[in-house]
Symmetry: C2
Subunit: 221 residues, 2 copies
């Protein structure tokens, strides 16, 4: 009887499962509030109210507002990372794949949730140093690593010149984020028009290929 308990690390007991469900719901509600209101403007009371539940329950799951916030950021970045891994589909020739990958990255990065998350991180990074680190490692870093893997194989195939794949990936991503993303962040636009995104992608790839094509001039020694 005890054996069954021990061999399963996932929650078996129904109680535990229900509790995790509740926790999940709390995190959803809290995430929504934090992402669209910011940290300071989000109140525990309003979260409890939105839950339909009581404050006691809230505090039984998270001992403080700060702990809740950290859990939310943790989960949001994890979700972000999960969405990213869907992107890398390297079927087809290089330039087709490159464009598809860029489009995938752009779509994730420009999504309202990602923009809200980015805003929140930038806003609170000064006050919550760990948060910036978590986001950085799970967000941008993962994106670069995924891209770098793809670019690395292209380097091996001699399609683009050999260089640090991670540097190349960072370069490409920063090129993609130069226009629409900036304007979204500063509220100049509410959503990125597809044609503008397309233009960003094309420009980014053009500059990237101009820099990294196999026959391109070396930039540094």
């Amino acid at each position: 009887m005890d054996m069954i308990k021990e061999i399963s690390c996932a929650p078996v007991s129904r109680r535990e499962s229900r509790r995790l469900d509740r926790r999940e719901i709390i995190l959803n509600v809290a995430a929504q509030s934090f992402l669209e209101q910011g940290y300071a403007s989000t109140t525990m009371s309003s979260i409890a109210a939105a839950l339909g539940g009581s404050k006691g329950t809230l505090w039984s799951h998270f001992p403080s507002k700060e702990a809740l916030f950290e859990a939310v950021i943790d989960r949001a970045t994890a979700a972000y990372r999960a969405k990213l891994s869907e992107i890398l589909d390297t079927r087809g020739d290089f330039s087709t794949t490159l464009k598809r990958v860029c489009a995938g990255i752009m779509e994730k990065i420009l999504s309202p949730e990602a923009v809200s998350l980015y805003r929140l991180v930038v806003a609170e990074a000064g006050r919550f140093p760990e948060m910036g680190r978590i986001f950085y490692n799970r967000g941008p870093r993962r994106t670069w690593e995924l891209l770098a893997e793809f670019l690395s194989s292209a380097m091996n195939d001699g399609i683009i010149r050999r260089a640090d794949p991670l540097d190349a990936a960072r370069f490409l991503v920063s090129l993609c984020m130069a226009d629409c993303h900036q304007q979204l962040l500063m509220g100049m636009i509410q959503s990125a028009p597809p044609e503008a995104v397309e233009r960003d992608i094309d420009r980014a790839i053009a500059v990237f290929m101009n820099t990294f094509a196999a026959d391109a001039a070396r930039l540094d020694g």
Copy 2:
């Protein structure tokens, strides 16, 4: 008697001058608080306390927290713009000047105040739509325009290929902001080490020249 009053638009009366001084002090204190605490976490009471003055005085100058905030952003962006105009000194040959100009822009952009302001704008742009517009027009836009002016003359001299100067300027600035600025925003570093800034500049210029040098390949039609 009325004439004297009318011909001078600057504050003549000592009362008025004192009042403006007080207003200036309020704006300084408020700016500091908003920039390092964010909007929601900054309290009017704490500002009044830091002033040494009373709340009555505060509210006699600004009818609400929101009004104070707008005035602060207005002034901060104006100050930012003033600092920018110091940058453009086009003596010397093109590449020397280009590097100096980039270094100047980087120095402004990476300064703690500029980073705080950028953070605040990004954080609150969703809630204060006008603020993003003000910042955008007085900050990035001015920077681009200054740079564009310089690049435009370089185009006329045939040093770089003819293109939309504003586009080229935006491109160069976005290249400069790709690394250190990002890391500062996300709290990965507390200040940008000079050698990293130097590296950012060199990379940006290399890519820029690779793209815009007179003999570079056209990127788009």
